[in-house]
Structures are given as C-alpha cells and as structure tokens.
Symmetry: C2
Subunit: 472 residues, 2 copies
Amino acid sequence: MNDIELQLADLLGAGAVVSDEGLRERYLLDWTRSTRGEAAAIVRPSSVADVARTVAWCSARGLGVVPQGGHTGLAGGATPIESSREVVLSLELLNRVREVDAVSNTITVEAGAVLHNVQEVAAQANRLFPLSLGAEGSAQIGGCIATNAGGTAVLRYGNARELVLGLEVVLPDGTVWSRLRALRKDNAGFDLKHLFIGTEGTLGIVTAATLKIFPQPRQKLVALIGTPSPQAAVELFVDVRDEFDASLTGFELMAGEALSLACTHLRRARPLPGLDPYVVLLELSSPRAGGTLTEPLLECLGNATERGVVTDAVIASSDHQAQSLWEIRETVPEAMLRHFPQVSAHDVSVPIARMAGFIEQLETMVAERWPQLSPLLFGHVGDGNLHLNFVSPQPIDAEVFGELERAATSASYALVGELGGSISAEHGIGTHKMNLFHRLEDKAHLDLMGTIKRTLDSRRTMNPGKVFPRGG
Amino acid sequence: MNDIELQLADLLGAGAVVSDEGLRERYLLDWTRSTRGEAAAIVRPSSVADVARTVAWCSARGLGVVPQGGHTGLAGGATPIESSREVVLSLELLNRVREVDAVSNTITVEAGAVLHNVQEVAAQANRLFPLSLGAEGSAQIGGCIATNAGGTAVLRYGNARELVLGLEVVLPDGTVWSRLRALRKDNAGFDLKHLFIGTEGTLGIVTAATLKIFPQPRQKLVALIGTPSPQAAVELFVDVRDEFDASLTGFELMAGEALSLACTHLRRARPLPGLDPYVVLLELSSPRAGGTLTEPLLECLGNATERGVVTDAVIASSDHQAQSLWEIRETVPEAMLRHFPQVSAHDVSVPIARMAGFIEQLETMVAERWPQLSPLLFGHVGDGNLHLNFVSPQPIDAEVFGELERAATSASYALVGELGGSISAEHGIGTHKMNLFHRLEDKAHLDLMGTIKRTLDSRRTMNPGKVFPRGG
C-alpha cells in the first residue's frame, strides 16, 4: 500500500481499500474500454458516514474524488485521470433497498443498488420502476442519477431526473445533505436536488435516492412497422401519440439496414420482408388486462397505410414475440459494432418536429461530401433522440476513416446546433465530449455552470477533469 | 416622478414607468390583500432587453427588484417591502406566444402571458396545456414557474416544473441566460433551469419558457364518491391508481362539511345525500372517445363498496354534470371564507401512505386540545397535498382565535415534520412562511440555499426579503 492507501485504511478500515492489483483493474477501466486511468487509491466505503469521511479527508488534502458506480457510463465520466492525485470512491457496497412503499409509490435505495435489482424489488411489490437501459444488469442507481440516464422508457416515464423525488448527497466538503423526501409536492425552499442529478459527480456524491414507482402495465402491445421515410415515421408518431397519449410507451426508429444487421446477428429472418428504408418499433401499454389497445391501433395503422405513411406492419401476438421484437432493437448497437470494424458513434437530440429534416439533411450531406461513409441511424424518435453512427461499408484505412469521421462529426454537430438540438442527449459530457461542449456552448451558460462549480466545489476535488477542464 | 422614476423613464421610456397613483395601487397589493408594500418605482418593460437593462441598472445601484406577474401568489412573494429601495418590475407586457409546435408538442411563451390564454392557444392547436388552478384567469406563466405552481392536474401532469423544457432568464447582473430548448432529452452540461423554477424570483427573472403540451383528452369521467374515513379514501386511491395509471387525472378529497358548505354557497342540493364524513372527487381521462372508462370504474367502485371503502357514488352523465361536480370542489375555499369569519389556512404535504394517519392524528389532537377549533380539510390526496384549515364553528373573539390557531398551527407543522412532510406543498415561502421555514428547516439545506443565493445574487437585489430574511 502507498501512503494514501495506508491513511485511508486507517480511516475506513483496511477492508475498504482495494489494493490487490488484479482487483484494481476493474476500477480503472470503463465498460467501453475507451478510458483507462490510474489512482492513488481505490476505496469502497460501506456507509454514508464513511463516504462523507473519505470526501472530507480528500478535500482537506486537495485530492480528487472519482465517484464510481457500475462502470457502464459512455462518456468516460467515472474513470480516474491523474494517478497520484485522485481517489476512486466506489459506491457498490452501499446497495441496500431502504424502503418500498406501495401506497406512496416510492422506493428508497442506496446509490450502489444495481438498476436491475431495483426493478426486481419494485416488481415484487407489484410495481414498476420504469428506468430501463441496455446496461441495467450492471448500472447502479447512483450513476443513473448522476448521469440523468435515459433509455427506452423515457417517452412515458421521463429520464432518471423525473423519477427522483428525494436525494441524499455527500457534498464536496463532506457534509451530508439529506432530503430523502417521498413527496409529490414540496415548494418549501429551493429544490436543490437538481444540482446533483445529471452533473456527473462534479458537485457531490449521491448516496441514496427516493424514487417514483408506478402501477405495472398488465397489457402490452408491440408492433414493428415499415415506413418509407423519417418524415413518415414522425407523422406516424404524432398520430399514435394523439390517439394513445400515455399508453404509448415506446417509439423507436431504426434504419432498415440496422434492422437487417440485428436480424443477421441474431440469425433470424427479418420480421418485415420488405426492404423498408426505416422501421419503427412501437409499444403500447395499459394498466388493464384485455385487448383494449389492439382495435384502435389497427385503425390507426390502417389510416396511416392509406396515407402512405406505413408500408407494412407486424403486431406481436404473444409476450414472447413482443420480447423478440424488442430484442432486435436492443441488438442493433452490438450488431453494428461487430459488423463494422470502425464506427463513429454519436448521441444527439433535436426537437421532434425537426427530426425528419435533420436525418434527411444529414444523409444528403454525407452522401455528397463523404461518400466513403454511410450514416447508420437508430434512436428514440419519441424523445427526439437519435443515435447517429458513421460507418464505412467498404474496408478503409483507419487513419483515413478517422479524418472522414471527424469532418462528418463536426458538420453534424453544427447541424444539431442550427436545429436547436443537443450534442449529448443521453450520455452526458464526461471527458469524451468536454472539449466539444466548451467549444460549442453559449458563454452565459458556461459561465453560470462555472460559477456553480467554483462555489460548491471550491477546492475542485469532485471528479476533476470531468465536464470541466482540469483547473479551468 | 421621483428621482428613481425619472432615471428609469430615461432608461426605458416614460411609458414604461407607472406613476399614476391610482394605477400604482394594483402593483403594491396582492390578490390576498394580506400584504401591501411601497416601491421607489414601478416599471413595465416591454422587451427582454428592457428587463435586462432594468435589472442591471438596479443591481449597479443596490436597489431591490421585485418581479411581478398576475398578483395571485399566496405567500406574499411579489409585493415590495421597503419603499425607497425597491423597484417593482411587472412582466405583464411581455405576453406574446412566441411559438406553438404541435409536432414537438411544445409552446414557447413570454412570462407575462396569462395562464388561461396559454391554455386557449394550446387548445386552438388541438393540444392541452395542463397547468390548471383557480387563479388561471389572472396568473401569469412567469409567476407560475417562479412559484412552481401546482393545481388540480398535478397527479397526471406534474407541477409547473415538470412542464418546463426550456427557460429564458435575466440573471441578477442583467445577463440574459437563454435556454429555450424544445428538447425532451438534453444531458449536455448542468440543467440549470431548475435554479429558477420555484425559487420565487430570488435568483433571476424568468422572461420566457418553452413548455410541454399534450394530446387533448377526448373522454372524461367524473365521479363524486362518499367514503367513511381518510383511510378508506387513500385505499380507494391506490385501487383506482393501479387500475387506471395515467388515466387517473384527478383525485380530490373534501371533508363532508366542506362539500356541504360549497353546495350551500352554490344554492344546490348535495349531490350525495348521505352525510359521508369524507368525499372524493375523481376524474378519469382518455385520449380516445367512447366509453372505455365507465365499465372498469363501475367494477372498481363495486369492489370498493363491498370492502366498505365506498359508501355512495354518483358518476356524471354529461360534460355539464362533470363541470358542475368540479365547480363544487373549486368553490370550497371561497365558501369556507364566506361562512367562517376567521380561517387559519395551511397548505402542507405528506407521503401519501401517511395522509390518512396525519388527518386522524390531527383531528384527534385538535378535538382534545383546542375544542373551540375545528379542522376543515380538503386537498389533492393523489399528490399527498392537504389544504388544512382551522375554523371556529362558534363566534369567538379574534384575539382568542389567534392564540388558539397559532398553537394548533404550530403543533400541526410539528406533526408534518415528524411525518416527513412539507410545510408548503404548493404556495411557496415568500414572506408568509419565511420565519417558519428558517426555524424548521435542516441546517445543511439552509446553508446550501444560502450559498447559492449569495453566489448568484451577490448584491442581494433579487426580490429582497423573500424566502431569505433581508440581509440574512
């Protein structure tokens, strides 16, 4: 053990310090394997008091604290950067479910609870915790809150932010700010929990949260729908939203090619035989059992077909089939990464009304200016969120690909800006988008963010080098 | 005109300064008539640039700025306090609807737009702007956002906060922070709009907002339901919520006496002839026309009746009848104020699971300790929000009433605190609850609020004496 590790072992007990070289690796490398760091020490406190003690200790010494959850972030926000000046603080041992309240419809969990476990505990109480994303088997609640995680249920239930009623947070000086209120309405003073949601551990460490849970849907209807264009997909979305409102729980868009890739990867036939350029995965849910959704959906699709907005559709006739359609959608990212050796992946949002125009402009632009590249698109149309990827259909030199994708990326972000969009819909800023963010963002906004950061974290010890440049 | 008025007339044009004595009164007195102030000047800027100019001018001179909307606040947060050092800034001339987007389902409006007008503009686009409250004919959007207004649609659509996608704000130094993003997902940097929602104009002035709009419900079902106890009402709520989820758009509780008072005031017969101690007003909505809600509701009420949770019910058979049931609920506050010369009115929330226990403890406590008082309750059970009033059924000396109600109020707030509740569910802190708030609130929370206030409003010119004590 080095000197910092020894002192932290004194403070927290030797068991709280991860010093075994083999074990350490897990805390230094992200799931994306894109970022590897080093750290002066790695600790796993087992109580909120120990988190507070660690943070205060680091603050007093000017050591950085890097909060860590399930290592599933996609922006490099949880990896240490500077070896000798940073302590990794894993929340994984703080993983209790403190309370489930099926009357208030709230659940209070600690930051290290794995998302999938929280879903399970809610289900045992006959309730739904709706946050749902590919990495839910590893992602921890604290990380989900710190990154304001999105996923596939945002359309109906909102991002992680919308699910948080109360928080317990360790502030940068080690103070515990505890507001685990299970209240639907509370206008007594400032609602400061929002300072810690989506701020990627740069203002404090979430140690527990009181979250909303919901009635479980008893009926789900899933359909895969072929559509001739992004514009048609958006028109269909507006139709279905007007008809079903909160019963519309999923509206995902995939380029036809993405569907084919996923089906090939899964060794399945394409559920829609036609080569529709775009395909929608739609999900309707109802708290009541019985087929009250099928007829109005068929009517809606019939009207849309007459107007040329829908070319083909298949409605799942069983839960198994419904799951299998969702599996195709969820396989797209992996299938893409396996099929194309080089992928330039982005996560942007635009107002829904500008989504179709954005896709069309983007496709034209890439075809004209970088014909060696091809955009491969999928995303959450109902949230205005597009996962935009540039791939090269033909083998291409890595350096050449890099040059092309940098140019295409830069032009795409400029377009996103013109359309009033966001350069990071879901994944956050972390380290990956930090420079881009500071280059493109309004000065007044950066100034205000900087003011808040300097005030709450005056010693600059909270997750240094994330969101803000080191010392910036 | 005094010196400050003359200088502001120079800055903004003479037309922007309200100097006529008769006109001034309107800006110095709240709707509740509980607070009257004086001001060095009253200005009505007609552009965001003029708001910014006024705020910067006041900041440079250390003059307080009191932002004003429709004067319908219930916490005294929009009335000037110290005559010579404060400028009232009315937003009422900034009242344009800048954009309605029925595809993105967003509406962008200026702060001075009257809530009812915003609802109307949305309706013209076949959309619903759901924020709805008694004062909607006067309340302005800026004030609704600054106070995070609640109302009768919170159960399904959330408070004002949940409806805000983007904001434009004039900061205390006159900088315009403009983030009118119409995005459902945006994790690029801190989501700082929450610093200005519900902070009652103490950190900046909201000048415009991009808000969510929704599909219009095409079917509504309203029922008035008698129930033997608060516990039974909460049990019914849980049943109905599980069965209808987002289709449950209203669940209001009234003490039987409140129902009787409202009916007497409206010169109508009680819709439920029995003297049920508590009555629920329930509303279900569906985006689809046709009676898909009636049968499951009848089944639900049938089961609840068997279990003794419901004693009687009437379901509105027409829109007219539905409105008339809502009118009874909305008349309760006025009927109460007319009937009882002295009313001590409060607005608290507790977790839903503790609502029934709270009411029962409260009733027992008041009956035992202050038998001259009687609690008269109504509220939004689905939000855990209770409007709690102490009245004196028998004529009583004002001073005696004051003593009794202060004791009962203090004990009630203590109970709210024990149950993890809030001393201000909807109305905010303003001046009315400022001392109470600072006495009861956690130190860590007050400290963090104070830090934010000192940082963003370092000259303490934004709505001085509201939420925070003057100079505190």
